[in-house]
């Protein structure tokens, strides 16, 4: 499982594939105020990205990869 869901936080691990998007969406639908931890994420499929964008999810930790962070920060920052 490339996304670990805890009570309030979804922790993205390494490569988050397209298959995770469905679960992520369901989880965010149940927990609109959830937090997202991307620090261990190396790449995420855009299906996940658009779910995060649509849910206006709150990112509490950005990816350590600067390049990924540069792409994600402008669109995921509130």
């Amino acid at each position: 499982m490339a996304i670990e869901f805890s009570k309030t936080t979804a922790v993205f691990q390494e490569l988050v594939s397209v298959d995770e998007a469905e679960a992520l969406l369901e989880w965010l639908q149940k927990k609109p105020s959830a937090k997202i931890d991307l620090s261990a994420c190396t790449h995420l499929h855009p299906a996940n990205l658009q779910v995060l964008m649509a849910a206006k999810a709150k990112v509490v930790a950005w990816p350590s990869s600067e390049m990924l962070r540069n792409w994600l920060e402008p669109i995921l920052k509130p």
């Binding site: 397209v18 469905e22 540069n70 792409w71």
Partner: protein, 897 residues
């Protein structure tokens, strides 16, 4: 080139041929539904096949072709002359791609744009499906009207974070950057695409941003798999590199050149406007006074005082960036400063428009400036080069390559001028060149060069003091584009894709031949082998009957030659009929997976030696027995995972199928590490079924006992499943293998596993038989049954009960008289020494001695099965024609014993 690719190419040519054929036939019968279906199927298969390889160009056009065929098939589009033309074009194009692949092994990207164009033409002919086209496809199909383009680009630029744009601006070298607007297909996630990754891996990436295509739907209604994100990418890669990178999705990207200054679009919180008016007026004053240092200082101070998230700060950052990189670009600096009062990003297009070619030329200006005036060494070098070009042009020897020479000299002169930044001179030179080309004379050029070389030094200096740039620069930029456009225009009129209908396709490298023809050829070669055998008889007759020894020798020499050729012919036809065992093996991975899953077992299949070859008939006949064996092994052999674990074995069982070649036989070994065969249980079962008697139960060794699984009517499974266990199976397997002249050998260790070895001839065409004689008649016995031939003296034969036996090397062996078995009343003949001729044959694991009258030589024969009424005679496996024209009956040893 790998075999798969070879096969693809050969098949593709067949497909293209039949597609062309069908298209022709459709012309005369445009409503023939069967033809249309067939055509669709061909295009569809070809497309599917091309998808196996990295040939996006090919797949794309074929996909478009397939869509068009679907439209025609469902009656949404009519078959027309134009459709046929386009489809034929496409097939020619695909043929050309195949040629390229065949020649180079790979498909370059050179045809990418042509492929996109062809696909677009086909799409144009394809009416949209009944449901409205999705927003995404409408977007990608229509890049937007031209007047909207500017705003569109600004929006895209805004999507790229400022930091990335600043980096791009600073790092941008001479020339324009490319802005990639990548709009992935809405359904691309279903095709396994990851557009984000693709965007991030863009070559020469300087920065990028992501834009949502539409306002976000409510989370409850969101479809995570409907792609709505567009990507804006800024790169300094070349167009070709980008086309290569996005070669799978050329229709989803649009490339726009942007000058770096156009990136300067401040962003941020617009709060806090007029307070900075002081700064604006100061800045304009500094700018007018040319005091850039003061401007920079003032900017830095204000930037430090401001909240970095403000629009103002962003504009100031841009101001600093421009100051650092292109301080001479006053217009740009002024525009940014003035934008502070309006809080609107400078409209670079408008500024560019007003100031003439300032913005695009700004780069050239910077270029010229950065290179500065030519230093004296370079200037003399340039003068030397120009002088040499003049000499070349002045040659005037009327050589056939004069136009090319003019072009070359002109190119050199042009480059010199560009390097020197002498754009005004370049313009006048271009005019001179145009005149020269138009009049087909070199005089205008010579005159120009004379003029220029005289005034060169002043020209450069003049250029230096007046950096006014003429509009000629962009014009000249576009000159090569025009010529390339012309050349592509010309190419359209020429034969497309290098081929015409009348072009021959070149010799095909492989043929498809009906098996009947191969069989006929094989039979003919077989007869040749047999008739060649007549030559030794002839030689013998020449010597013995006619007494011409000389002739006999010559016949024998000729025989040796013919013998060699026929051997090679036979070998060649065998090669044609050879097939790899992978033909049979390929079904096993699926079979093992499905069966083991059904049984709840965990089995790992290992296939070894799949490229081992054998005759087609053997390979084909091998299929069913192997399936039986593998099923049996899965069903009875392997234990359930729990049982395996308890027994200390790996939970995953291993089933290995190995094929190998040993001289003229193929060996196939099926080994499992299951529970093995329990000899006691087998004996018990066989006894219960009445297959063996009580005495045999005690007598049989374990290895002998497990051979009982080949006995008809024996099943070891506790219950009958739908897989195996009905007691037909192993006996059938053995029969089939033996009919193929093969043998089967079984070994099993209880608890460790079972090993089955099949040994089969490589080919069934030629059988080696030994000729024996019984009561004056000749019979053949297949050599693979024969162990040895011995002569046993009369007194070495005993009679036990009413059976004859002998002792051969310490072993008792049953003897049977062939005469008796064949129902011939005569008694076997003895030779002069009173010995019996005995041929020892193998029968399963036993050896039996056949008493015959005498042995003759062994021969290769083509065994023909008995036909008609005779086919009921199981005692004979067939007949063969001998070299002297006689017919030899070959015995089926297993049946008669």
């Amino acid at each position: 080139m790998n075999p798969l690719l070879e096969q693809f190419l050969s098949e593709s040519r067949d497909f293209l041929q039949s597609i062309g054929d069908k298209l022709m036939r459709l012309e005369s019968a445009p409503t023939d539904q069967d033809l249309i279906n067939e055509l669709f199927r061909l295009v569809h298969t070809l497309k599917g096949n091309s998808g196996l390889f990295e040939f996006p160009e090919m797949t794309r056009v074929l996909h478009a072709g397939e869509d068009l065929m679907v439209a025609i098939r469902t009656g949404r589009a009519a078959y027309s002359q134009e459709v046929a033309d386009r489809l034929l074009d496409v097939m020619d194009f695909v043929g050309m791609l195949c040629d390229e692949v065949e020649a180079t092994g790979v498909l370059g990207t050179s045809q990418s744009s042509l492929s996109a164009q062809l696909a677009a033409e086909l799409r144009h002919l394809t009416p949209a499906p009944m449901e409205a086209p999705s927003a995404a496809s409408a977007l990608s199909a229509d890049p937007g009207p031209m007047q909207g383009a500017t705003n569109g680009h600004d929006q895209i630029i805004d999507a790229i974070p400022e930091a990335a744009r600043l980096v791009a601006y600073r790092e941008a070298q001479v020339g324009d950057l490319l802005l990639v607007d990548f709009k992935p297909d809405a359904n691309c996630f279903y095709q396994g695409a990851d557009p984000f990754r693709l965007a991030m891996q863009t070559p020469g990436l300087l920065g990028g941003g992501i834009l949502a295509r539409e306002p976000w739907a409510r989370l409850e209604e969101l479809d995570a798999y409907h792609c709505v994100l567009d990507y804006c990418i800024l790169t300094d890669a070349t167009r070709a590199e980008l086309e290569e990178h996005f070669r799978w999705v050329p229709e989803q990207i649009s490339l726009t050149p942007v000058s770096p200054i156009a990136l300067a679009r401040p962003q941020g919180d617009p709060n806090g406007g007029p307070v900075y008016e002081d700064f604006v007026s100061d800045a304009i004053r500094y700018l007018n006074a040319g005091d850039l240092n003061a401007l920079e200082r003032a900017t830095k101070v204000l930037l430090e005082l401001s909240n970095p998230n403000l629009w103002l700060s962003s504009a100031l950052r841009w101001l600093l960036a421009i100051l650092a990189k292109e301080p001479d670009l006053r217009v740009a600096l002024r525009a940014v400063i003035e934008s502070l009062t309006t809080l609107q990003p400078p409209d670079w297009m408008e500024i560019q428009h007003q100031a003439g070619a300032v913005v695009p030329a700004a780069m050239s200006a910077a270029e010229v400036k950065s290179q500065g005036p030519l230093n004296p060494a370079h200037a003399s070098l340039v003068a030397g080069l120009l002088g040499r070009q003049r000499e070349i042009l002045a040659l005037g020897d009327g050589a056939g390559w004069q136009p090319g020479r003019v072009q070359a000299a002109a190119a050199t002169v042009g480059s010199c001028l560009r390097a020197g930044g002498d754009l005004a001179a370049l313009a006048s030179f271009e005019t001179a060149l145009a005149t020269a080309l138009a009049t087909d004379a070199v005089n205008p050029l010579l005159a120009w060069l004379d003029r220029y070389l005289g005034s060169e030094a002043t020209a450069i200096r003049a250029e230096e003091v007046s950096p006014t740039l003429t509009k000629s620069a962009p014009e000249k930029q576009s000159a090569p584009d025009d010529s390339s456009a012309q050349s592509t225009g010309r190419a359209d009129g020429e034969p497309k894709y290098g081929r015409r209908a009348e072009d021959s396709l070149g010799p095909a490298k492989s043929l498809k031949v009906d098996q009947v023809k191969i069989d006929r050829l094989m039979n003919l070669i077989g007869e040749m082998v047999v008739s060649k055998n007549a030559l030794p008889y002839l030689a013998g007759r020449a010597e013995n009957v006619f007494g011409v020894r000389e002739l006999s020798r010559e016949i024998k020499t000729q025989y040796a030659v013919i013998n060699r050729i026929t051997d090679e012919m036979q070998d060649a036809i065998m090669q044609v009929r050879m097939m790899p065992v992978s033909f049979v093996f390929q079904r096993f991975p699926r079979l093992v997976r499905d069966t083991s899953r059904k049984l709840g077992k965990d089995v790992n299949l290992v296939l070894v030696g799949e490229d081992t070859e054998a005759d087609k008939n053997i390979i084909e006949a091998l299929g069913d027995p192997l399936v039986h064996i593998v099923r049996n092994s899965l069903d009875h052999g392997f234990e359930l995972p729990d049982v395996r674990k308890a027994a200390g074995k790996p939970v995953t069982g291993s089933l290995t199928i190995t094929a190998s070649q040993e001289s003229d036989r193929v060996l196939i070994e099926i080994q499992d590490d299951g529970k093995g065969i329990d000899p006691v249980a087998i004996k018990q079962k066989a006894y219960e079924r009445g297959l063996i008697d009580e005495a045999t139960v005690d007598r049989l060794s374990d290895q002998e006992a497990i051979q009982l699984i080949f006995a008809p009517g024996l099943s070891t499974a506790e219950k009958v499943s739908d897989l195996s266990g009905r007691g037909v199976g192993m006996d059938v397997v053995r029969t089939v293998i033996e009919n193929l002249n093969g043998s089967i050998h079984l070994e099993s260790v209880l608890g460790k596993g079972t090993r089955l070895c099949l040994s089969l001839p490589l080919s069934m065409a030629v059988t080696n038989v030994v000729i024996i004689e019984a009561d004056g008649q000749s019979f053949g016995i297949p050599m693979d049954r024969v162990v040895e031939t011995v002569r046993i003296p009369r007194k070495g034969i005993w009679t036990i009960k009413d059976r004859q036996v002998t002792v051969l090397r310490g072993r008792t062996m049953a003897l049977k008289s062939l005469n008796e078995l064949l129902g011939i009343v005569a008694a076997p003949k003895l030779n002069e020494d009173g010995e019996q001729a005995v041929i020892v044959v193998r029968l399963g694991d036993e050896q039996v001695g056949l008493v015959v009258d005498s042995f003759h030589e062994t021969v290769d024969v083509i065994l023909k099965p008995m036909t008609g009424i005779l086919s009921g005679l199981a005692a004979f496996s067939g007949s063969a024609l001998m070299g002297d024209g006689s017919v030899l009956i070959v015995l089926n040893i297993k049946e008669i014993l």
